[in-house]
């Protein structure tokens, strides 16, 4: 039973997604409870799975019993799912955030859906199962398929409100498909050279035959893969699709996309980078990690700079997310355990923070019609939102005792350990810029205390209150428990060859 747990985890949202149109066409009121129950069961399974992995070590799932061992004379013929420390923690994060986003989405579900509500929940569950698949996949082609499963659901979900959202959804689709195509091209190149798709086997072959890394096909394949993931994780020059899509997506959907899509793509790249290419990989004379660190530094600074000049609240947070993807890449690319552990911890924190910020942005639109920074003074009517955004801002900037501080602290420590002071400077500059754009928000919220924020509207829905409160509480809890979590990630970093 415990061996099959990763597959059960994937099947819970997947099977519910398939049943949803059948049940939902007759009984529309059942859709939401069904989706919530399925994802809640997934949370429970993910926690049990994490406990099993911590107690008994990683498991590798062989589909259909086909051999997956990478030691000769066997060849990894079958499809493999890797359920190791990193994956199991990611699974917990993905399932909890997905449940929270579903829970939050209730009062904000677009009214225009009508009878299509069942299909809406089907798409959300498909998205969640696709993300679960990416986290678990131990095979580069599998990653491609799951990337597309989650991305296709995301395109459709972004387009729900109609009008301008359709245009950004189309743009997202074109760029996302281009990214996936680049990734597939990379997979073809690697397969043509090594004859394997299994990540562990690729890693072994590259470790055994270092000359592979000088072959043009492997260099080209790696580059294409990185471009593909760069689009999927919205790395700075390739981020064009993200701000529009997150701004115009329904308020109930943008937290889910913001929290999970880019982070899981980043996770998939980390897995391929460390487990297949190896931490010491070099292309030509250039260290791959050094290159990544450079990209990350540029993205961190420019993303925060762009966030500073935005007027629309959701767009501002979207650029904040782009900046944080850069920060995580900086930490990953320092080539030591401290940086890696800090980054992975920050990745989870960032997912929570992005979810929380978009919760607040969506609730502000729903409750007070506040879309832009100008309207923010109306937020004073809702103490829950003010409290949540204050705590989340502390975490985004990196003030203890929130989780954001400990992540960033370890990223900086890792960069100092590697003697990479330009990376330290980039993190500090990005932090200052993040502080600057939150400063803009708080000045708008708290300035002109005499000015009446307008008549008090309807009471905030209790589930909305709870769902803006939970991420804020979660970043503090993550901060207080940061020590064991970071220690755990250090162990996974050792497994990654650092």
């Amino acid at each position: 039973m415990s061996y099959h747990l990763p597959v059960i985890l994937f099947l819970l949202p997947f099977a519910t997604a398939i049943c949803m149109p059948m049940v939902g066409s007759r009984r529309r009121r059942w859709c939401r409870p069904m989706a919530l129950t399925a994802v809640f069961a997934m949370c429970v399974a993910a926690v049990i799975n994490l406990w099993i992995v911590v107690e008994h070590g990683e498991t590798r799932y062989a589909f259909g019993g086909w051999p997956i061992s990478t030691s000769l004379p066997d060849h990894p013929l079958g499809i493999e799912w890797v359920n190791d420390g990193l994956a199991s923690v990611m699974l917990v994060a993905v399932s909890f955030l997905a449940w929270l986003c579903l829970f939050y989405g209730g009062p904000l579900t677009p009214q225009s859906l009508g009878a299509r509500e069942a299909l809406y929940y089907t798409l959300i569950l498909m998205l969640i199962s696709g993300l679960t698949g990416i986290v678990l996949a131990g095979d580069i082609f599998n990653v491609f398929v799951f990337l597309e499963v989650s991305a296709l659901s995301a395109y459709a979900l972004v387009g729900i409100p109609g009008g301008r959202a359709l245009i950004v959804a189309f743009r997202y689709l074109i760029l996302g498909t281009l990214g996936a195509s680049f990734y597939l091209l990379g997979v073809v190149f690697l397969y043509a050279t090594t004859g394997t798709l299994n990540i562990a086997d690729l890693g072994q072959q590259i470790a055994d035959k270092p000359e592979l890394m000088t072959s043009k096909a492997v260099i080209g394949g790696t580059t294409f893969m990185f471009i593909g993931f760069g689009i999927k994780m919205a790395l700075f020059p390739l981020h064009g699709w993200l701000p529009g899509a997150y701004t115009l997506a329904p308020d109930s959907i943008s937290p889910l996309l913001a929290a999970l899509m880019t982070k899981v793509a980043l996770y998939a790249w980390v897995r391929i980078m460390f487990w297949a290419l190896g931490a010491r990989a070099e292309i030509g004379q250039v260290h791959v990690l050094a290159l990544l660190g450079g990209f990350g530094a540029v993205a961190a600074v420019v993303g925060a700079l762009l966030a500073l000049i935005q007027e629309d609240l959701k767009r501002m947070f979207a650029y904040g997310g782009i900046s944080h993807v850069g920060l995580i890449l900086i930490g990953v690319s320092q080539g030591n355990q401290t940086g890696f552990a800090g980054s992975m911890f920050y990745l989870i924190n960032d997912a929570v923070m992005q979810a929380g910020l978009f919760f607040v942005a969506g609730a502000a639109i729903h409750q007070h019609g506040a879309r832009t920074v100008e309207d923010l003074s109306r937020l004073r009517l809702s103490p829950w939102m003010i409290g949540a955004i204050t705590v989340l801002a502390m975490s985004m900037i990196g003030i203890p005792p929130t989780g954001g501080f400990f992540g960033k602290w370890n990223i900086i420590l890792g960069a100092i350990e590697a003697g990479n002071y330009s990376a330290v400077a980039a993190v500090v500059v990005a932090t200052l810029l993040t502080m600057a754009w939150f400063q803009r928000l708080f000045v708008r919220i708290f300035s002109d205390m005499q000015e009446s924020p307008g008549a008090a509207g309807a009471e905030m829905h209790p589930s909305l209150r709870l769902s803006v409160g939970i991420p804020a509480a979660a970043v503090i809890v993550l901060g207080l428990c940061s020590d064991p979590i970071i220690r755990f990630f250090r162990e996974t970093a050792a497994a990654a060859g650092l």
Binding site: L178, S181, L184
Partner: protein, 131 residues
């Protein structure tokens, strides 16, 4: 330089795929008509699929179905892998085609919805109408 050209000419199919890929990419980037963008996207994906299929091919090899008498087939050691083409790239291409079809379906649905809303397929015209 001459060696490079010579090496490239040995695999003319690869040149065709590169041309197809870049052509599709060019259409995707330059055309403002949404359906033409999709055609470009389709060309890009197809060129990758063709590349995927061709890398499984071997000279003088046949379909990957075991041949010979039953006695020979009972011992897998006696078969020579060089006699058979690699079936895996075909399977991968099949899966990728399914993904491609799904993508095309979603994208055409989006284009239809855009056309119903704005009455145009030209991106510039639509953007003008929004403003």
């Amino acid at each position: 330089m001459l060696e490079l050209i010579e090496a490239a000419l040995q695999r003319p199919n690869f040149i065709a795929f590169v041309v197809l890929f870049l052509w599709g990419f060019f259409i995707m980037v330059t055309h403002s008509n949404l359906v033409k963008k999709l055609i470009g996207m389709y060309l890009v994906q197809t060129s990758i699929l063709l590349l995927l299929v061709t890398i499984g091919v071997k000279q003088d090899a046949t379909v990957p179905i075991l041949q010979g008498s039953d006695a020979v087939l009972s011992t897998a050691d006696q078969m020579t892998p060089a006699d058979y083409t690699n079936p895996l790239p075909h399977v991968l291409a099949l899966t990728a085609i399914v993904v491609q079809v799904a993508t095309l379906g979603v994208s055409l649905a989006l284009v239809t919805a855009i056309y119903r809303k704005y009455g145009s397929l030209d991106e510039d015209e639509i953007l003008q109408r929004i403003e």
